[in-house]
Symmetry: C2
Subunit: 721 residues, 2 copies
């Protein structure tokens, strides 16, 4: 009878397991390993745990390891003080302990930085041990997550010798979350920060957020939107910020805020926010002190100033360095940084928008205090499906530049599209700026190594919301994961990252891993094809950026219209950014200028970014531009169809809930791809005056139909009542 | 080895179970019954299942029963065609089957209506059977949920003879959900309707929403806010509405929408929405036909017209009946109803706000088409912690009046307070209007029995959002549950409902049930005490209604200020609604007028609602009004302190996640209760000029401090950017 009761429990519980496949657990799934031989191998190897639980972080590390092993191996390990068991895991920050010295060489010790970790297997006093060492607790925590990842991805743990450190110092999420819980460019519900109930109500989700970030090495978070609200700097809200910072701290995560430049007026009661005004300077110093009284390890401010209507130093005839340095001065003694965004452009300025940030910031190189970053988007326009790297990379050698990627898919299908962004991130990081000759990649600028900057940073605009699965589309989780993994080590390949994520999130079944990996790795190129092939950009729906709208024109800002960017006319298509046009290309180093300037050497991926090309020009495929454009749009749509089939073939290998979730979303993406294809081809046809090549399915809707579509409540924008 | 693996699974799975105690499952928890003797008794009794799965609803019913039994008993029952097993559950809608005829008498058949059910145990051809019969599938579905509730609450199932029908025909939730997913007066996150992804993405939550509602007999839902948006009536959105309606249909739930009176202009391109305009009338007829082409069982429209800025027939010099009848005419052939809200009042009208709805609607009695309800809030002001019943109840005998309760706790502490509302609902339903002599309760008006109306209805403004636990505060679930249970049978006591909910949601441990029940049953009175004792009303924070603000005055609408309602002055406190004042009391029947008009007979609970009372008047307690006021405020706060202790004593009986959730919220409520107490007592003291009685803890903050508090991002209001 007892056994049958037990079976009932198992049955019931398995039921619950199936029920709970809602994606909440992200890649931190610690379900029992189902492969019996692998399970037994691990189980035999791992039998004990010791830890010098000398900090909150070390406690978090051992707790995570215990939770992980209890799940994966079904084994509850208590913390012992001595090495009683063969196969003990040792969590340790004490370089001087005899065990540590025995296991780890001086070279290895020197091979890691303050956040790094070393994982080694050794036989010590006749017993096998796994040591997970870090100079600080956070290194051990990262090591624990790495070790668990080995088990989750079913790697061998027999002879481990892993020495790993993050290559970039600040690895941040930027939340564009408003205090009313709307999220600008958020497609996964609303903000996970429930400001109203803070500080007294601690949503367990905050802890899982910290765990998830720590598991991929993210060590800081900017809680609030760059389109900022000074209310977050009031005492009332700082108490709430403190509650979050206290939760994040043990996980090695520092808390940052956006600073609204006009805060001294709005909440300080001053008449000006002029950075040269002494009262203003004093106000910021006092405010920063107050923040540190709540959050002793406060990270600093992210600032969007004089951009898209935000206040800034220009309002007082001052420059960006004046504003940034004022804040930096207030922060520097307390250890904080300023991340000042370079995303500035003005509709009043007749210059090509793509050139304006460079023109405004390059002259300021060398004028910033040491604790100022200039935060630069990967490209000069705005997180398009494909952009060439931003010309500021390599152009400000005296200034630490921080990378700003967008994890949330504002322009890549939002939460209804599968777009794995690791290839996009890497494309930028691997780009060669030639600023110090060949090999001066964007990555080496960002990590500080090219110019020997003592600080370095990378930020990703979060795709996280209060949707149960965090990111709306479960494959959006892979982009959060990829951002963290690349921030830690940009040398990882997209394949490696996809492989890890799939195994941790879905399955270790090799055939399934390969299929899902193929879907992911081709997905971004697919989206480029059906949205903005050949270097097209910014031709999406007005304001909400949902769906195609190459016809957008005659708005109050020319630089927010589509025609500004594609320049379609009877002759051809594309934005001439060579010498005969805006000459934006000249902002790059000569090697890059040469490559992009010539129609022969400009990669077709960037063709219409830099050139206005005749409809009949021959492409590499020997198709004309018009034919190639059609080909790409149709190919993009077709590739989504293939993704749908691939996914459907996985039905028996994925739990029903997540299978259906992805299936519905892929079907939506397929609809959207057709919509993009037909709307864009019909629209550009009005300029090319050429037939859609034979063999292509014709749109069953007119261009007018597509132009008539309205999405007044598309997510991610501030509602307009 | 196999056994130990099994134990691992159990361990791991139990882990998951604990992990998942986030309240998502509501009261529909089907965990294995832990009491072995009860489990065995049930398991022995139940061994088979037959069902004439002749409809989607019957399939849903048998599926729910299978899921429930698999969980509760760990028993997987397949559907058999014959009665092979002793202890078979028979789901049946066929009155003519010999088994049904054998089990159920003609009287019993006649004792239920179209939605009712009969559950009986019998011995048929030597075998024990449980029959769950309904005239229609939905009755069987309700019966299945009832049967499962018996198991969940561990009742005997030996000799069942249950005949049950809903007493009110339409039992609706009203969602005040906007298309951008904000929820007016929503405190549980944002709307569960993800309009953007509909119709192609079906959130599994929609199904669980339908299950939860069906389990308590709710048979309709109004998807959109009464402050309405005509976009929901566009073709684009009707396709989305259809997707939801298709999900809800098998669960017996009809879909309704709010109709914006100006829709013919906004989305129809007409120049007017005048109900006497033929184009307008035709437009609505065509629109209704279109809606029915998407949703063949569409329920009808809920309308807020000429109220708080909403458009309506008055804009064209027409009256409410003109507007309502126009819509009713369009709906009547297709089976839909109009629910026209009586919640109208105007700041321009110098009359007491409490009188205005009555004055405007009573003269219209008899002028509405047969498919029009007038939907009346429980009280004449607005969902206060305590209000006397609305004087319209009993005043419009020719018109079916629909009750509107507010489940969401706009004025009862929102989602940070535990307030069990069954006593509030029942207080109103049990009130005697005397409209047809003694015993003419509000309930009998609502259920149609007093005036023999063929239609009847009750609505609850939903407290549901996309918070994981649906209602923000897990005890908010009890109010959703209580609304449904009372809509089915208002004869249930608050104790019975609390008992069911606690056992289904938390535990069957008797001591715990009793403690939680005590907390719940006293909770509403506690809130009345620390917010609005003795008949005070509408003295809360401006606009967001969060926290105390009796000092609100001089706003653009006098009837949205606090001083309008409490009338505190040097002489006393309270709104004189007797003959010497606004004479609102005269809107009731003479018996009620007499009771409320006299200081001797007016219950103290309503004292300051109807009377301006001298600060030194003696109360029943023989305390003066001022002393009694202080007593109530301090008693209210103290009672929250007791709730905190009671809950803490349950630590070992409640899972950690839900225990901590409630504990944090009770601590917040305790803070808020002190805040209410101190702010109100300090404020009223400026009028009474008397000391706070000895022995009471003094506020450590000044009145000015409380008046200075601002909550710009309090939830539940449209953000003001």
């Amino acid at each position: 009878m007892k056994l049958s009761i037990l079976f009932f429990v198992v049955l019931t519980s398995l039921n619950i397991l199936i029920y709970a496949e809602d994606g909440y657990r992200l890649w931190l799934r610690y379900d029992l390993i189902m492969d019996q031989s692998i399970l037994q191998t691990y189980s035999k190897s791992i039998n004990g745990l010791t830890s010098d639980e000398n900090s909150a972080t070390m406690k978090v590390a051992s707790n995570e390891l215990q939770t992980g092993l209890r799940g994966l191996l079904g084994k509850s390990l208590q913390i012992n003080l001595t090495l009683d068991e063969d196969g003990t895991i040792v969590l340790n920050t004490d370089k001087k302990s005899s065990l540590t010295k025995f296991c780890i060489s001086e070279d290895e010790f020197n091979g890691i930085n303050e956040e790094g970790f070393i994982i080694k297997t050794a036989t010590y006093e006749g017993k096998k041990v796994f040591i997970i060492y870090g100079k600080k607790g956070v290194g051990v925590l990262y090591g624990v997550f790495h070790f668990l990842r080995l088990l989750q991805t079913q790697k061998s743990i027999d002879n481990l010798s892993i020495v790993s450190s993050p290559r970039i110092k600040l690895r941040l999420l930027n939340h564009w979350d408003n205090l009313d819980r709307t999220v600008e460019r958020g497609y996964a519900g609303f903000s996970i920060w429930d400001w109203h109930k803070l500080p007294d109500y601690i949503d367990p989700r905050y802890i899982d957020y910290a765990r998830a970030n720590a598991s991929i090495g993210i060590n800081g978070t900017v809680l609030t939107n760059v389109n900022s609200n000074s209310v977050v700097l009031t005492t009332q809200y700082l108490a709430k910020v403190k509650a979050l910072a206290d939760i994040f701290r043990p996980y090695g995560i520092k808390t940052f805020l956006t600073a609204r430049f006009s805060a001294p007026i709005e909440i300080g009661g001053l008449k000006t926010a002029d950075p040269f005004d002494n009262e203003v300077r004093t106000w910021w110093k006092e405010k920063v002190k107050e923040i540190y009284s709540y959050v002793p390890d406060f990270g600093g401010f992210l600032v969007k100033a004089n951009s898209e209507g935000q206040p800034g130093p220009n309002d007082y005839g001052r420059n960006h360095d004046d504003g940034a340095n004022m804040l930096a001065e207030a922060l520097q003694l307390l250890g904080g940084v300023v991340m000042w965004r370079a995303f500035v452009y003005s509709n009043e300025n007749p210059e090509d928008r793509a050139k304006q940030a460079f023109n405004e910031f390059k002259p300021l190189d060398g004028k910033f205090l040491k604790n100022v970053f200039i935060q630069v988007k990967n490209g000069a326009i705005d997180f398009q499906p494909r952009e060439p790297f931003h010309p500021l990379f390599g152009a400000m050698p005296k200034t630490p530049l921080m990378m700003e990627f967008q994890i949330t898919q504002e322009y890549l299908g939002q939460a209804t599209s599968l777009a794995f962004l690791a290839p996009l991130f890497k494309e930028c990081l691997d780009s060669d700026t030639y600023s110090r000759g060949k090999g001066s990649t964007v990555a080496k600028i960002i990590d500080g190594s090219l110019e020997n900057h003592p600080i370095s940073g990378i930020a990703g605009v979060a795709n996280i919301g209060n949707d149960r699965n965090w990111t709306g589309h479960i494959f959006g989780q892979a982009n959060w994961f990829a951002f963290g993994r690349l921030a830690w080590d940009y040398g990882l390949t997209s394949e490696e990252i996809a492989n890890e994520w799939i195994r941790m999130t879905f399955t270790n079944d090799l055939n399934s891993v390969n299929k899902i990996s193929s879907m992911m790795l081709s997905s971004r190129e697919t989206i480029v094809n059906y949205m903005t092939p050949l270097g097209l950009h910014h031709i999406m729906g007005w304001d909400h950026h949902y769906g195609p709208a190459p016809w957008i024109k005659d708005k109050h800002r020319a630089d927010w219209t589509s025609v500004y960017y594609h320049k379609a006319d009877s002759i051809g298509l594309g934005f001439d950014r060579t010498k005969t046009g805006s000459d934006a290309v000249s902002q790059y180093q000569p090697e890059v200028v040469n490559m992009f300037s010539s129609l022969e050497t400009c990669p077709e991926d960037y063709l219409l970014w830099f050139h206005h090309v005749n409809w009949n020009s021959k492409m590499n495929s020997s198709r004309s531009l018009w034919e190639e454009l059609c080909f790409r749009y149709y190919q993009g749509e077709e590739s989504v169809g293939e993704m749908v089939s691939w996914w459907e073939s996985l039905q028996n290998y994925i739990d029903e809930e997540r299978f259906e979730h992805v299936k519905m979303l892929l079907n939506i993406q397929h609809k959207e791809a057709k919509w993009w294809r037909d709307a864009c081809v019909l629209y550009f046809q009005t300029f090319s005056k050429q037939q859609i090549p034979a063999g292509y399915e014709k749109s069953n809707k007119s261009l007018e139909y597509y132009e008539s579509l309205r999405f007044p409540y598309a997510p991610g924008i501030r509602p307009t009542w």
